[in-house]
Symmetry: D2
Subunit: 284 residues, 4 copies
């Protein structure tokens, strides 16, 4: 059966995955959701035609969005996760016994429902007693929150469609307000390689930098995302991920990971010159 999913990463670049079996197609109030099975990536799902999660490499993304802030501050107790309907971010967070509460705010309940059916690998901890699910708009949810979270993780789609508001100055300002005085904000930060993504990255960085005293970007190899070169933003009111990481403490927790380790933690903040240049440049 020759059925190919194709992501047009740019006008002239296509990444295609042979689909063994289409598993699900639906349209929620917010977006189109498709789930496929492929030999190379296992199950994977797309929102409005863009790959979100593949069984093969979701561990990379989830390791890097969770363990980098956690290893920087092991005293984190109260976490807000925005987006992340696949559950993978929550799964990694629940591995820390020290965390007492996880609020997860996903605008699209159908994403969670579909993932529960096709991605037990990522949704397996959504019913952990510390996890509270809110199916509403993250932008609105956060407006009323003040000085309560140790960590906010923005695990959003690209800044097109439903995820757009999660890249605005207003939203980042509300994150700042919702965080405690030593709070940390981590967000998926797009990619530096293809122009359209690089512009999103540049804008997001500029906006966060205006608000947070510490504002850094780190990278990972995520082959199923455009260019495979993916970035995360680390912003905080006090903590610095390079100087405040307590390697020994984190390693003594015995958390087994397939991507993250404390060397990668430090190495991932070393960016190529061309990425540093784009981030330094103020953009339009």
């Amino acid at each position: 059966m020759e059925l190919w999913y194709t992501e047009e990463q740019t006008d002239s670049v296509r990444f295609s995955i042979k689909v063994d079996k289409p598993l699900y197609t639906g349209k929620s109030e917010f977006q189109r959701i498709d789930v496929f099975h492929s030999k190379e990536f296992g199950n994977f799902f797309t929102l409005d035609g863009l790959i979100m999660v593949t069984e093969k490499d979701e561990f990379i993304y989830h390791d890097m969005i969770v363990h980098v802030p956690m290893a920087t501050n092991l005293k984190i107790k109260n976490v807000l996760v925005i987006g992340a309907g696949d559950g993978g971010t929550v799964r990694e967070l629940t591995r820390y016994d020290s965390i007492e509460n996880i609020d997860m705010v996903e605008i699209d309940k159908m994403v969670v429902d579909v993932c529960r059916e096709y991605f037990p690998q990522t949704t397996c901890k959504l019913d952990d007693p510390r996890v509270h699910l809110y199916f509403e708009d993250g932008l609105r949810f956060i407006r009323s929150k003040e000085n309560i979270y140790d960590l906010i993780i923005v695990d959003s789609t690209d800044p097109f469609g439903p995820g757009e508001g999660l890249f605005t100055k207003e939203f980042y300002g509300n994150c700042y307000k919702a965080l405690k005085e030593d709070g940390i904000l981590v967000n998926q930060h797009e990619s530096p390689y293809y122009e359209e993504y690089a512009k999103s990255m540049q804008k997001a960085h500029k906006r966060i930098k205006e608000l947070f005293p510490v504002c850094r970007v780190y990278q990972a190899h995520i082959p199923s995302y455009p260019s495979g070169h993916w970035l995360f933003g680390f912003a905080s009111k006090t903590y610095d991920p390079l100087t405040d990481i307590d390697e020994q403490a984190w390693n003594s927790l015995g958390i087994k990971t397939k991507y993250y380790n404390t060397d990668i933690h430090k190495g991932s903040f070393a960016l190529p010159n061309y990425v540093i240049d784009i981030l330094a440049n103020e953009g339009d």
Copy 2:
């Protein structure tokens, strides 16, 4: 004009680039050579249908294969480059005034000829007086060499077709012999993500580790290569790239690079756990 170059990275993964204009097609004694122009990647060329060099991101590969060993030992004077017909590795080497001699051994003269025509960006230093071109088999060339090179760079194709011999134990042994007592061997080391590539990586590492006291692997983001997660091998008789790097000295040279910097140098040796595991595993 809808003309697409497609690389079948695995049986079920295709990476496709829209071709604006086919520039050259030829068949040498060793392999098929094609050059295309695309909007996203500029000119790019393929050997036996696999992407070797694109104008857009060749700087990443060439920065990482050259500046990592050079920053580790700035006293390198005599260099052997095997493969590298596009000239990019030599171009980066010639930026070091301290280098006195570069022997470049490329089995396929047609690759150099074609690149001279379509890739002035990479071939521009092939006529530097310190560069000596040998169009012959690297395996044979190196057999008679003993204790003369400070650095050998193996800038080969994948271990299929003409590049196969450059992944054998015999070849690595001859590299060891051709290197001085403080010599360094750097080679392109395939990728850990897709199985077939990971096996090549594993085998190459195993063979080099048996010969060289220092044997490390470092990584870079090269989006035009399969998975975008590409590795290099660093082997040496004495030098350690993490402890022997002289950051200040390298930075004082004022070499402008678009990817490499001394932070990336150190960060690139921090590998994901899953890559460490494959490398530690002895393979078949």
Copy 3:
């Protein structure tokens, strides 16, 4: 959503349809069944990855496989249909009040079940009281039949997989036996344009010609099949489709068709020289 169904019509020819929505995927005892929706072709289904029926152009195939033999002999009363799980052939047959009985023998019940759900357009007459469905192997079904059918229509898949036996000499011999003395055999007859299909066409013709006094081939434009140039075989014990057609009688029936008419009937037996040559050639 960029999801493309691709049929590799030959090693170097691909026909691809953008899929709006995958509707069904299943595996029966005999073959893989997929149903897709596309903007251009409406719903279409594939067996083992090959297009069988599209809502857009099924009328062409079904018009030509049914009305050509019917217009040649309007006294046909008892019909055997082999294959044709989509129901389109039966639908056209039921438009003739003169037909008293239709035995339809489809090896794969799942094809009929799936088509009933997704192709009401073709299955709408499967419950006509004159229609008797047998879910068994057409080869076996026909062995015990002798001198009872006026018309046998072999509406099979390609001669690979489940449909293979329907292209054998033994099968055609049993068809001959099952037909009355003035019986007609019509079968889908592959295509003359791409080599692999042309060989199947050639073999089928050779075998039928050895058994039936009248043996002709006629053609239609079916764009969703490889090359768009599709053939049907007309074999009979006495009737000649060009001389025995009663145009006036057929036209007076008032059957509205979108492809077939009595001019097309006659014109469709005029084959290109290159097709005549392949058919005349004895093959291997």
Copy 4:
């Protein structure tokens, strides 16, 4: 080498040919010209990305555009060919000793130059002494001609780009004027299957019908064109292709053809009902 030429026949239908070797790419004053070699189709060339001629099936198009009018009136002596830069139409015309003069008007000299290099199979008769090449706009060329041609063949591209004017009422009017009182006009007439092509077909037919007493459409199976179902227009002042064809006379000429024969001649005017309906419908 995975290089695929793709023609987007509609927004959701792609026809792709594996390219063994790109042979030529150029841009004339009028259009982009590409020549490729493929295993299935041999050499083929495209204008502005659309397939014009393939070595494998050009004989079908050229047989049908030439022998249908010629067999209808074997006394044709003076012929005007518009377009047809590949030379195939002229090649077929030169097989008639009775033809005394062929004016061929091709707007784009580069098409002829490129075809002379890569398509000796079609250009082989361009230097016949009866052939006169004019590299100019067919629209302008014909304006000054009156009552001189027995046959005009419009072998144009689609009605987009340079070929657009060859589908206008003004142009058809000038053809009428340039033809003798028993003159014949044949033109490539697009395809009925995909909507955009069907509209062009409908418009062309409507315009010609207003001018010529005899106005018919005939079809052929050309698999390398969109849908494989291709049409030609036959218009004339007196001759009818179905009643005036002199089969015996044509057959006695002994012209060997791979597609055309006098049965196909007659059969090709028998159109499917859905095509008749579109042609009868006045359109916009």
